[in-house]
């Protein structure tokens, strides 16, 4: 469709284990930094897996307008991460929202917000201090709880944990009144949210959108769930930096992580008019569903591959044109094998020629915050540089992948970021260097 509005990335906001702010993130990505460490947020020594991609210390008050500081009291960590990344994205895009000025330089009604979120875990201490007041031995006495017990909780307790609160706080802080949605498809949430924002701008329902996702699993419940599901490595508690080994024969599981990755997407003419910096054009999006099992990807990886193929078709590009692939690369052996099978259905023998950069060795699995993976793809394309695929050495299945242990320069015109979720939702995004006329 030649009349279709084009959509470009004009801002990138990141908070993740290797950097707060997209500039720091990129610097550390190229510098070979790994953010997977022994957990410091709580004592993890009772857990089978004791490591995580933990975000460095920050003060949420530094990332919201003074008038909004009180509201940070009702932000779960997932919400904070989204708020920090949104602040970074707006500043990076040079957009003066209501957070920074009384006279914003855009129409809030034409600005959408699609932020993916996970299952937000209740703060254990906050809840348990209240439960403790209504206990009967080691059980909760519901009669006591329903009477006095629950009154220990702050009245707004529920609102800390609703997944749509990420988008709600961001829309309030920046005064965004356009279409807003919250995608909750686990690890695929960010990519699906970005894809949906892309369509919203394409069809003309908005000119701008902040989109991506955020999540933290670096808390007891989040970590416990991944331990119970046998998804996280228990073999690297003493050697966390080498724990997450995407596609490596010695992969022993992934690590939980936390972070947020958000883009400012903008209609191309709108971006040109205001002289915005254009990182990339978002050229294609594809989404599919696996029907194999709710907890395991199909070993064939076929539905995952189909999402990437659909995204390439949407971008009107052949698979061979891809210059960089940021795959899901969890570091779970059976999953990685399935992923490689899926990638092979798309790229065939060409797969060994396409540079591959799996991010998760650096950050752990950011789950709904995997917009950071997409940010890595766009920054690589923008800087014409591929970061080192650390911990990916000897490849499973005897395949040869085009990964490198050092960052390298490369001309990148087309970059793909693809994910699949625990639950079988697949999504892929295709980014293209802005055309000459675009800049």
């Amino acid at each position: 469709m030649s009349t279709m509005r084009r959509v470009v990335v004009t801002g990138i906001g990141v908070i993740c284990p290797i950097g707060i702010g997209s500039a720091a993130f990129w610097e550390n990505l190229v510098g070979g930094k790994i953010g997977v460490r022994r957990i410091s947020a709580f004592d993890p020594s009772g857990f089978p897996s004791q490591i995580a991609g933990e975000v460095p210390a920050y003060k949420i008050g530094d990332y919201v307008p003074k008038s909004y500081r009180k509201a940070t009291k009702v932000m779960a960590r997932d919400i904070e991460l989204a708020v920090v990344a949104a602040d970074d994205a707006f500043k990076d895009a040079g957009l003066k929202s209501k957070a920074y000025t009384e006279t914003p330089d855009f129409d809030g009604k034409r600005f959408g917000c699609n932020i993916g979120a996970g299952l937000i875990s209740v703060d254990l201490n906050e809840l348990t201090v209240a439960l403790h007041s209504a206990r009967n031995g080691d059980q909760l006495d519901l009669r006591k709880w329903g009477g006095e017990g629950m009154t220990q909780l702050t009245p707004l307790w529920l609102l800390k944990y609703l997944p749509n609160m990420l988008a709600c706080h961001v829309t309030i802080i920046h005064q965004l009144k356009g279409p807003s949605n919250t995608i909750t498809c686990a690890d695929a949430s960010s990519h699906l949210a970005i894809g949906e924002a892309f369509r919203t701008i394409q069809r003309g329902d908005a000119d701008l959108a902040v989109c991506g996702g955020a999540e933290s699993k670096v808390q007891p419940m989040g970590l416990m769930r991944q331990c119970l599901l046998n998804r996280v490595s228990t073999k690297h508690n003493e050697t966390p930096e080498s724990a997450v080994r995407p596609f490596d024969v010695d992969a022993t599981g992934t690590a939980v992580g936390e972070g947020a990755g958000l883009f400012i997407l903008e209609e191309f003419e709108h971006a040109k008019r205001r002289g915005a910096k254009i990182y990339a054009e978002l050229a294609g999006f594809g989404a599919t569903q696996d029907t194999y099992n709710v907890s395991q990807p199909s070993p064939t990886g076929d539905s995952y591959g189909r999402a990437i193929s659909l995204a390439l078709i949407d971008a009107n590009l052949p698979p061979a044109s891809v210059d960089l692939l940021v795959p899901c690369g969890l570091g779970i052996a059976s999953h990685d094998r399935a992923e490689l099978n899926g990638l092979t259905t798309v790229f065939g023998g060409g797969l060994s020629r396409i540079p591959l950069f799996p991010l998760k060795s650096r950050t752990g699995n950011l789950a709904a915050g995997s917009g950071v993976d997409a940010a890595a793809a766009v920054l690589s394309l923008h800087h014409n540089k591929i970061p080192a695929a650390l911990n990916t050495g000897k490849i499973i299945g005897g395949l040869s992948l085009n990964n490198a242990a050092e960052a390298r320069d490369a001309a990148i015109n087309i970059a793909v970021s693809s994910v699949y979720s625990l639950g079988g939702q697949n999504a892929a995004l295709v980014f293209r260097k802005p055309a000459k006329e675009a800049s």
Binding site: A117, P179, T182
Partner: protein, 429 residues
């Protein structure tokens, strides 16, 4: 742009578990609200709710064993989807499953309550006033199960629907609180219009009738505490309204491009004409007092449908029965419908069914389709005391026959999420 129609519907609600029974009961002005039995709520500020009663999962889903670990809300979604799939005649249809997608508003699953509270309490350290995470981990590893934890993820109902239907197309779950399933069906429509799928399973499912769900809403003072007379507790637009009544359930519709529906000879129940979505960007706790976002959503839906306010024959209100919503929504409807507002019937089935949260929009959209089919308006029951703030025709207490060709359904969520969707009678091309 492709036209989008509805060809199948199914629901599991506090008033029944098949389309016709529930519709009959809604028109009769009955109530699904009673004392809470799913847990011991005796001392809670609110002891009533609208529960799905006598739910037999295996009676709805033939291969129920495929969904062994499915939580309550996932089972509701599967049951509603099985109904919708059957009613659309998709069992017999030749489908390209790569072109069948899903857009669900699935709520999070219920906590494994006993294991969760037991782990927390046995690891509580009075000295440090915090949970001893080492001890907690030991108890949690013993008491919690992988399946029960996984099934709490909000995408699990969606993932189970994929197993049930075989749908391999685009799949999304959204969770925008009480607006979620209107949004899901609206976004599913956009996917079909663009040609990214031929068929979409759309809708929502949710159950928050559990101790922490009720705790959360009670702390917000959002729930009615009129515990004495459950069927009278939900009073949208009434002067004595005092909050909503928590319900549970699922509503699923089969959406299809008109071309695809016609090609396979499907019965077309209604057409999705328009959809609009906005954010209030006001406060996390309160709606915009002038209903700015709600007005924006209704207007966007009208513009999307290329209709004017004069074309709307019925508004299915969000109508929660909270003091704030019903006044604001009335203001917003008056803004959008202008002079016609007083003539246009508006009703809230939450007066009978309670508030199904993420599933509310879906069951209300299905209600709109049935209103169009039968030219019948479901009532707002318990409307006995006039509120000067609420001065529209709410179809008080008794169902009414009326010509309904076009209906608009509103859903508004905590945090300022506003969605409106318009369905109309399908009259051919």
């Amino acid at each position: 742009m492709k036209r989008v129609v509805i060809t199948g519907m199914g629901w599991v609600t506090p008033m029944g578990q098949d389309i016709e029974t529930v519709w009959r009961r809604l028109l009769a002005g009955e109530s699904g609200i009673d004392f809470t039995t799913l847990f011991d709520a005796a001392t809670f500020p609110t002891t009533i709710s609208a529960e799905v009663k006598d739910f037999d999962f295996s009676a709805h889903v033939a291969r129920s064993a495929d969904h062994g670990g499915a939580g309550r809300n996932t089972q509701f979604a599967l049951a509603a989807c099985a109904q919708a799939w059957r009613s659309a005649g998709l069992g017999e249809a030749k489908l390209d499953l790569d072109r069948v997608g899903m857009y669900l508003a699935g709520g999070e699953g219920e906590l494994d309550f006993d294991a969760y509270t037991n782990a927390a309490l046995s690891a509580w350290s009075v000295e440090s006033n915090s949970v001893d995470t080492v001890k907690w981990a030991t108890v949690a590893m013993q008491r919690m199960s992988a399946v029960r934890e996984l099934e709490q993820e909000p995408n699990m109902a969606l993932s189970h629907l994929a197993l049930l239907s075989g749908a391999r197309g685009p799949a999304f779950n959204c969770l925008t609180a009480c607006a979620a399933s209107t949004q899901a069906i609206g976004e599913a429509t956009q996917i079909l219009r663009r040609g990214d799928a031929d068929v979409m399973i759309g809708g929502g499912t949710h159950s928050m009738i559990h101790p922490f769900g009720v705790t959360g809403f009670n702390r917000l003072t959002a729930l009615s505490t009129a515990n004495g007379d459950p069927p009278r507790a939900s009073r949208p637009f009434d002067a004595q309204r005092g909050g909503f009544v928590l319900g549970e359930g699922a509503g699923i519709v089969i959406l299809e491009t008109l071309d695809h529906a016609k090609a396979r000879g499907a019965t077309i129940l209604a057409e999705v004409a328009g959809y609009g979505s906005t954010a209030d960007a006001f406060r996390i706790t309160d709606q915009h007092p002038e209903g700015e976002g709600a007005i924006g959503a209704m207007r966007a839906a009208l513009a999307d449908a290329r209709l004017t306010s004069a074309d709307i024959h019925y508004v299915n209100a969000h109508g929660t029965g909270t003091r704030e919503n019903d006044g604001n929504e009335t203001t917003a409807i008056k803004h959008v419908l202008g002079e016609r507002a007083k003539e246009c019937p508006v009703s809230s089935i939450k007066s009978m069914m309670g508030h199904l949260i993420a599933a509310a929009g879906a069951v209300e959209l299905i209600t709109c389709v049935l209103a169009i089919r039968d030219n019948m308006l479901p009532p707002t029951v318990n409307l006995q005391h006039a509120d000067p703030e609420c001065d529209l025709d709410y179809v008080p207490n008794k169902a009414r026959a009326a010509r309904v060709d076009t209906a608009l359904s509103n859903s508004f969520g905590f945090g300022g999420q506003n969605d409106s969707i318009i369905v109309r009678r399908y009259l051919g091309e």
